[in-house]
Symmetry: C2
């Protein structure tokens, strides 16, 4: 495995950003999933880092959260 | 489908950034795939927008390309 210069694994970044942005919108995991038209279990799996999101999913989630998709991949301390 | 405020679909962003960063490293699609320890056809599929990259794949590719993974999702004109 190449060195992880980012200091945090990417699934963890997605999980943290997703939870934060979702809570800022006062949405439950299920509400976010419904609005993004994705499986209801999927958001929880991403927030638990059990699944690797695809860019298609990131695009749908970002649209509902009204952010650019890059926001879902950012480090905490940017 | 929610409005795409980004102006460009995310697969297209990944395809363009991946090709540009790969060429800056003077790597073929196959060389990049080998170094990232992923399937040899996968890089070509991403550059042709035939597949939706997962964050695990973005992480591996970014490590070889020596960029932060967010660079693969950026718009052209940032």
């Amino acid at each position: 495995m190449p060195g992880d210069s980012s200091g945090m694994r990417l699934r963890e970044r997605v999980a943290r950003n997703l939870r934060r942005l979702r809570q800022e919108k006062s949405l439950s995991q299920e509400e976010l999933a419904d609005r993004a038209d994705i499986n209801r279990n999927y958001v929880g799996m991403l927030e638990r880092e059990e699944n690797a999101a695809t860019v298609d999913m990131l695009e749908k989630l970002a649209a509902v959260l009204e952010v650019d998709p890059v926001e879902l991949l950012r480090r905490d301390k940017d």
